[in-house]
Amino acid sequence: MIYLKLFWEFALIGLFSFGGGYAMIPMLQKTVSEYGWLTAEQLSRIIVIAEMTPGPIAVNAATFVGYNTGGFLGGIVATLGVALPSMLIIFLVSRLFIKYKSHPDKIMAFYGIRPVITGMVIAASFVIAKTALFTEKTVAVFSGLFKEPVHAVSIGAVVIMVLALIVQLRYKINPILTLLLGGAAGFIVYYVF
């Protein structure tokens, strides 16, 4: 039965992917090609859409693949599958968390972990900046100097980023409002002109 299969395969993806949505993509690729659920081209298009629409990338991809193979119910079942392992693990882990809350080893472990998380957030901003702030046009002047194609900095994107950063850090404006303003700026800069 297709629903059971979708649920099971997405539960496996949820259970074995560490490091968030992007880490799921290789497993997703393997699963959809194994069952012939999607072609490689369809999947890469789905990933682009999953990135452009709000919500966790893992959930977006699961809903999309599920809908494509099993209709509305397929989408729901795949999404439940991808979320369920997380929930079950957290129910187990949270108990331990509360039990050892003030154990010195636990406190020292988190003392070591917190700077790691800060480092991860910094690294994540580099990764996203790479696609968000550069245009796909390569700079002809420089391309002879480097082995990899050099992408031009998109002035518009940098201006939007700096403005958003000022608004966020100095004026603490609601991030949702900032996202909406960014979308409006994109409409004006890239569509109207």
Binding site: G20, V59, G112
Partner: protein, 197 residues
């Protein structure tokens, strides 16, 4: 406390808050941090500022999507299992609705130039949101040389050597535990500080 929080009106509020966050989380789990800070910490006061870092640490360590893990953790902390279910349903549902609409309306999904333009404006804001999260977390988590070294090493190991995330988290935990064994004076200072908070 927990009993009163299992009331339907609280659970609905939990669902509503995470539905709102899910509707505006572009670009993966970390982009969610400023939204959680605004909605869950500033507006509702459900979670303390320092707790959110530990919640994201735990969310990275276990498998699955970070956004789902973080929502489940917060929901569980506030109202037990039923709270976890409502928070996770909230974060997941906007995606399910939007993707189902897209998949059913467009049989052959092409990237529309208007949507592409809007997204090109949203993307730099996502960068700004993640940088904002990084700046605020830096202020809260880097209090000494050890923290500074760990953070710099993490950035290098991730971006240059592509070491996987859970391994880095376990290494961070190990550094903390080893400090307790080898440098008891330093550990005493850290533990004393934590107790004061």
């Amino acid at each position: 406390m927990l009993k009163e929080r299992k009331s339907f009106s609280f659970l609905f509020e939990l669902f509503r808050t995470f539905f709102k966050i899910g509707s505006f989380t572009f670009g993966g789990g970390f982009a969610m941090i400023p939204l959680i800070e605004k909605e869950v910490i500033d507006k509702k006061g459900w979670v303390k500022k320092d707790e959110i870092i530990d919640i994201f640490a735990a969310s990275q360590t276990i498998p699955g999507a970070i956004a789902i893990n973080a929502s489940t953790f917060i929901g569980y902390k506030l109202a037990g299992r039923i709270g976890a279910i409502f928070a996770t349903a909230g974060i997941v549902l906007p995606s399910v609705i939007i993707i189902t609409l897209i998949a059913s309306l467009f049989t052959n999904v092409e990237i529309n130039p208007l949507i592409d333009a809007v997204f090109k404006g949203i993307q730099p804001v996502i960068v700004a949101l993640i940088v904002t999260a990084a700046v605020r977390m830096w202020k809260r988590t880097i209090n000494d040389t050890v923290g500074l070294l760990i953070a710099v090493a993490t950035v290098l190991l991730l971006t240059v050597f592509h070491v996987n995330a859970p391994l880095l988290i376990f290494s961070g935990a190990l550094v903390g535990i080893v400090i307790r064994r080898l440098f008891p004076d330093k550990a005493k200072k850290v533990l004393g500080k934590e107790r004061d908070q």
